[in-house]
């Protein structure tokens, strides 16, 4: 019995000695329990139209200028749609690494929008892995254009709300995918379609093909009673990142640039060629003190 035990101990001893020869650090590496957050699933806080699983860092201000042009199939007389432009200007701000707020104003219906985006889980690898990132975005839109003097809807009648869940995963360093179901509500059904509540199931993704460029797409399938003439928004494009700027160039059938407008008010059919060119321009500013130097220089 003693012999068996000593042989066993000897063997484990040999294994240990052998392991030490490989490199002094190799046996220690598992001991240092570290969890790394997975970041950079998308280059921007929007895939194209939809919220992405990315958040702004604390004290980051993201100034966003969005353009959607006319339909390309209008031909050269309309300069392939570039003669017409619809725009949204806005700014997002990272209160913490987990809470981002934003607002914007679109030219279409002179509509204001604001949102709060909260990250509940961030994908992580290592000691305590988390498989996906979970984000919830909630917002409201209010159109302010006065079309007729006789019809004056109240603020409540001009407001729509949305709540969106985003589940996303950076699968490899190049490929990220996300699902983004959304609920829209308005006290006036014609703001969001044919009923007060509209549900859409959406998804998006990115395939990075260089360090600073990626192919992106997002789609939202509008469920429930279809309003005649309304379509589901599909967009595909490329992201180009240059330091603090991200340019998102894309083709889409959607002209709206807030959640109500692109989910519930897309009238063009992508596969009929009713495609528009558009771009999102994002510029990040860091609002806060410059870091103190640690005096190594």
């Amino acid at each position: 019995m003693i012999k068996i035990i000593s042989v066993f101990i000897l063997c484990t001893g040999f294994v240990k000695l052998h392991a030490q020869e490989k490199g002094m650090l190799d046996s220690m590496i598992q001991d240092n329990r570290q969890t790394q957050k997975v970041s950079g699933a998308f280059k921007s806080t929007r895939v194209i139209n939809a919220h992405s699983v990315e958040m702004l860092g604390k004290k980051n201000l993201d100034v966003r200028i969005l353009h959607r042009f006319g339909m390309i199939n209008q031909g050269i007389k309309q300069f392939f749609g570039l003669d017409q432009a619809s725009m949204r200007m806005g700014a997002d701000y990272g209160i913490t690494d987990y809470i981002t707020v934003g607002f914007g104003r679109s030219t279409f219906r002179k509509e204001l929008d604001a949102f709060v985006k909260i990250r509940f889980l961030q994908q992580a690898t290592g000691y305590k892995p988390i498989p996906v990132s979970v984000i919830v975005a909630g917002g409201a839109t209010l159109w302010t254009e006065q079309s007729f003097d006789s019809i004056q809807p109240t603020i409540g009648e001009r407001t729509s709300y949305y709540l969106q869940l985003v589940l996303g995963k950076k699968i490899t360093s190049a490929l990220s995918l996300q699902a983004s179901p959304i609920v829209l509500y308005s006290s006036r059904a014609d703001n969001v379609g044919s009923s007060n509540t509209v549900v859409a199931l959406g998804g998006g993704g990115r395939i990075k093909f260089t360090k600073r460029m990626a192919f992106t797409f997002d789609y939202h399938h509008v469920l429930g009673p279809k309003t005649p003439g309304y379509r589901s928004p599909l967009s595909a494009g490329i992201d180009i990142e240059t330091g603090g700027h991200v340019f998102q160039l894309h083709f889409s059938n959607a002209v709206g640039m807030n959640e109500r407008a692109y989910i519930a008010q897309t009238t063009d059919e992508f596969f009929n060629g009713d495609i528009r060119f558009g771009f999102n321009l994002s510029r990040l500013f860091f609002i806060g003190k410059k870091s103190k130097s640690s005096g190594v220089y």
Binding site: I2, K3, S6, I9, L10, G13, K16, L17, Q20, G23, M24, L25, M28, I29, D31, N32, Q34, Q36, K37, S39, G40, L56, G57, K58, N60, G94, D97, T172, S173, K211, R212, E241, T242, G243, G244, L284, F286, G288, K290, S291, S293, S294, V296, Y297
Partner: protein, 180 residues
């Protein structure tokens, strides 16, 4: 049989006594330009030092470097270090002191660490001056050196070339070595 066993155990423990390690070594780096200063710190680098043979190893996770600005950290990982592809940087070398080290007594030593430094998948020979001090039984070390980004195949696009120094200063500090 038992005697052999004891001998083995004895050899093992003597060997281990010569090994010092740290799992909270601090590695920080600095890039200074007129336009922008960039710095980041990783407080959880691993290090083992065999005081008998002088063998020294460091290993650090690239994703563990923390910046003040989240965007810099993302660009560091995504665009420059490609930390998904090259998750770690490490050093393997030997440490030689100017005079024989008696680490149990209060004293300080100048030493030179010669070895191979691997960053971004590229391995280069480096030689770094290290200060080692022992005080009240606490052994610590510190080193500062520079690396060229071009040596490690880290390319800087011209658009941000003025904001990133081509030579990056690296500071390595071990506050207290523990016995392995």
């Amino acid at each position: 049989m038992l005697a052999i066993l004891f001998v083995f155990c004895g050899v093992g423990s003597i060997k281990a006594q010569n090994r010092l390690y740290s799992n909270d070594a601090k590695i920080s780096f600095f890039s200074k330009t007129a336009l922008e200063n960039i710095e980041a710190e990783n407080k959880r680098a691993l290090c083992v030092w065999d005081t008998a043979t002088g063998k020294l190893e460091f290993s650090v996770l690239i994703k563990g470097f923390e910046f003040d600005r989240a965007l810099m950290q993302e660009h560091f990982n995504e665009n420059y270090m490609e930390s998904d592809k090259f998750p770690k940087a490490f050093f393997k070398g030997t440490l030689k002191s100017d005079k024989p080290m008696k680490l149990l007594m209060d004293n300080s030593y100048m030493a030179k660490a010669d070895g191979m430094l691997t960053i971004h998948g590229v391995t280069k020979q480096v030689s770094v001056l290290v200060t080692i001090s022992s005080k009240n039984g606490k052994i610590s070390s510190a080193a500062v050196f520079s690396v060229l980004l071009s040596d490690y195949n880290i390319s800087i696009p011209t658009i941000v070339a003025d904001k990133i120094n081509k030579s990056i200063r690296i500071a390595v500090a071990v506050a207290e070595y523990k016995k392995l």
